[in-house]
Symmetry: C2
Subunit: 218 residues, 2 copies
């Protein structure tokens, strides 16, 4: 096999955002608002998972959802049908949300009282991981068709998430996806990560996920 040549390209640093995120996180704690930052690749099933999650929890908590998207409002429309407060954040082409942008969204969202605010971040496994939004907890979805090697290729995303949902387990028979290998790859990046296999379409595994949320919301 030919040796792989590696060219290192330059990197950015985001100090101010970290400070802003910590400030927001503390403010939310004081106000009794739990902010969940939900991230994934495009098409991993964030919106479908959210709709199921809202259905299971909306009688227990006052929920508000922020749908971040570059340009459309497809998702916010879907979420609004669940009956919870839902707003669309247009990032104007930006590939992620930082704490300042999240704060702008929360100001619109929390005109009424809420217990659980959910940010559906831009579909992207790279940039959202680099910018702390100020969320109480970070969650991500990896779907079976994306492959069990993703924790090796997008290490930062997996390392910053408190919980990883492995979605679309209904199609496991049709893909070369090794659940055990995937778990190992995730734990290699983040030994503390909770890992929950789900199928947002059929509802399988959703109870374990909503139980995780209930535990952390207390």
């Amino acid at each position: 096999m030919e040796k792989v040549r590696v060219v290192e390209l330059k990197k950015s640093i985001f100090e101010d955002n970290d400070r802003e995120a910590e400030k927001l996180r503390n403010e939310l704690k004081e106000r009794g608002i739990f902010l969940l930052n939900l991230m994934s690749s495009p098409g991993s099933g964030k919106t479908t998972t959210l709709i199921r999650t809202i259905g299971a929890l909306k009688d227990e908590y006052r929920i508000g959802v922020m749908e971040a998207d570059i340009d459309s409002d497809v998702d916010a429309k879907k979420i609004s049908q669940t009956g919870v407060v839902s707003i669309q954040l247009h990032t104007g082409g930006m590939c992620h949300l930082d704490a300042g942008m999240t704060r702008q969204g929360l100001e619109e969202l929390t005109e009424g009282e809420i217990d659980l605010a959910i940010l559906e971040n831009v579909g992207n496994l790279v940039c959202p991981a680099e910018f702390d939004t100020g969320a109480t907890k970070n969650a991500m979805i990896l779907s079976v068709p994306e492959g069990d090697d993703k924790p090796l290729k997008y290490p930062l995303m997996f390392s910053i998430c408190d919980v990883v949902l492995i979605n679309k387990i209904d199609v496991l028979p049709y893909f070369d996806f090794d659940m055990e290998k995937c778990r190992q790859n995730i734990l290699l990046r983040n030994p503390k990560a909770a890992i929950i296999p789900i199928c947002a379409k059929t509802g399988e595994g959703m109870e374990q996920w909503t139980d995780w949320l209930r535990t952390h919301l207390q």
Copy 2:
């Protein structure tokens, strides 16, 4: 249905990169190098598609591949097994490649003579679309499990691509994916886009794709 509130967040502008990209594109044309910029979400099948593409074209063209990744060298290792020149570009956490970064990679890649340089961009439907790499042509892969609505949600990516490969058509029976609706959504964003359904795993549709490349390489 509750009305969706929209909050507009700020946008960036990248003037200098456009100039740098145009300069690189002209230089490549003079040197007889065709640079293909291949983009997609994580796990859409870029590397598998590339391996098939190389297999079909390596006796006709001198091919070199640049694998852009944040941290790993998994893909470059796979590509190097095909026998073509392959290098790994580490973006140091960056979510995309701009023309300057692409130029750095090409300088390493084109020590020998090549006809076709392929850049496998970072798996991301957002940022790579915003930065012209200087490529001769832009291609993207949308895989069936991601859904037929992606052109609505990531409009810029679809609008800048000359060709859209719709991959993983072998799993069409297991997903709610409407090929005709997908075509319409793509053409809405980009009426000139070539659309080629493929299955990189089985080889289906690959001849149409390699014919597209042959036509444009002349």
